[in-house]
């Protein structure tokens, strides 16, 4: 019981750093997914480089690389911000990156590049 309450107290006093790291990394992952998808569609050599699984085609490499970028960004940011408080603007930036990632996956917008 006391262990549970001490864990609760830790959660209450946790700085916003780890949460901001997770949010920003997710935003980076979302944007990377869109950028890689556009590159995989437009650049021929990049497209063939992204074929990690032949039946799935370039989608396999694009998604694997985006997931890797997201996890690496999360790991790096979490190490840096684990015990720190960071600006609340980080959450806003994360949402903006997610929004951009969302819009850039929409083919008529992606085709503008």
């Amino acid at each position: 019981m006391s262990a549970q309450s001490s864990s609760s107290t830790e959660m209450q006093t946790l700085p916003n750093g780890p949460g901001s790291a997770a949010l920003l990394a997710a935003g980076i992952g979302a944007l990377m997914l869109a950028i890689l998808a556009i590159a995989g569609d437009k650049i021929l050599w990049f497209k063939s480089m992204m074929i990690f699984s032949k039946p799935t085609g370039p989608l396999s490499g694009v998604t694997t690389c985006a997931i890797a970028a997201w996890l690496i960004a999360w790991w790096i940011l979490d190490r840096r911000w684990r015990r720190r408080s960071v600006s609340s603007r980080v959450s806003v930036v994360a949402l903006v990156l997610l929004g951009l990632g969302f819009l850039l996956t929409f083919p008529p917008i992606a085709d503008l590049f």
Partner: protein
């Protein structure tokens, strides 16, 4: 009543994982909101926080199953290339859609968007699950974090909705078929 193995696996991907995720989303949004705003005792808080973290983790598992089964099981059947000279494109959904200007958009916009936007879902919900597990009720004291987490869960709902809508429409216009045919039950004349 018959169904092919490819049809069954497409059904599990869309109606099983995809639809389950969409249904679970509304619960997650309500729970995150309630967790951060409800006035309850500390013991109830702990139990509810754990429930929310487990709920979001289960949603993340469903989201990963949906994108992985879609990308590596169903999508290869969808984009299969027919041998030269094939005239019946029924077993090649992408080519079937692109063969007519009336249906080409379902691939060039629908599938092209769906195959990428769906991957935002596991990223967003895995992050939300991790943040809720790490902070628990502590999220109440970080307004900007909980607002952003809610934003990501809303975005995951939207992305899953886009993927689900186009998945259903693609399968309506050019169903993924093939493999062994399984008879589910015998139908009689009425």
């Amino acid at each position: 009543m018959e169904i092919t193995t490819r049809g069954l696996l497409t059904l599990i991907h869309g109606m099983g994982f995809g639809a389950l995720y969409l249904m679970a989303c509304s619960g997650a949004l309500v729970e995150i909101y309630r967790c951060c705003h409800a006035q309850t005792g500390p013991q109830n808080d702990d139990r509810h926080d754990l429930f929310l973290a487990n709920y979001l983790t289960a949603m993340a598992a469903v989201a990963w199953l949906a994108v992985l089964s879609g990308t590596y099981i169903v999508y290869p059947w969808y984009r299969a290339t027919p041998p030269a000279g094939t005239t019946d494109l029924a077993g090649f959904p992408q080519r079937l859609l692109m063969a007519s200007p009336a249906t080409a958009g379902w691939h060039s916009i629908g599938m092209e968007w769906k195959e990428h936007v769906a991957w935002l879902v596991p990223i967003a919900i895995t992050m939300a699950a991790a943040v809720c597990r790490r902070y628990g009720g502590g999220l109440k004291s970080h307004r900007e974090l909980r607002t952003a987490v809610l934003g990501f869960v809303w975005a995951s709902l939207l992305a899953a909705g886009v993927a689900g809508f186009f998945g259903a429409m693609l399968n309506k216009n050019a169903p993924v078929q093939g493999g062994t045919t399984m008879r589910i039950m015998e139908g009689g004349e009425k």
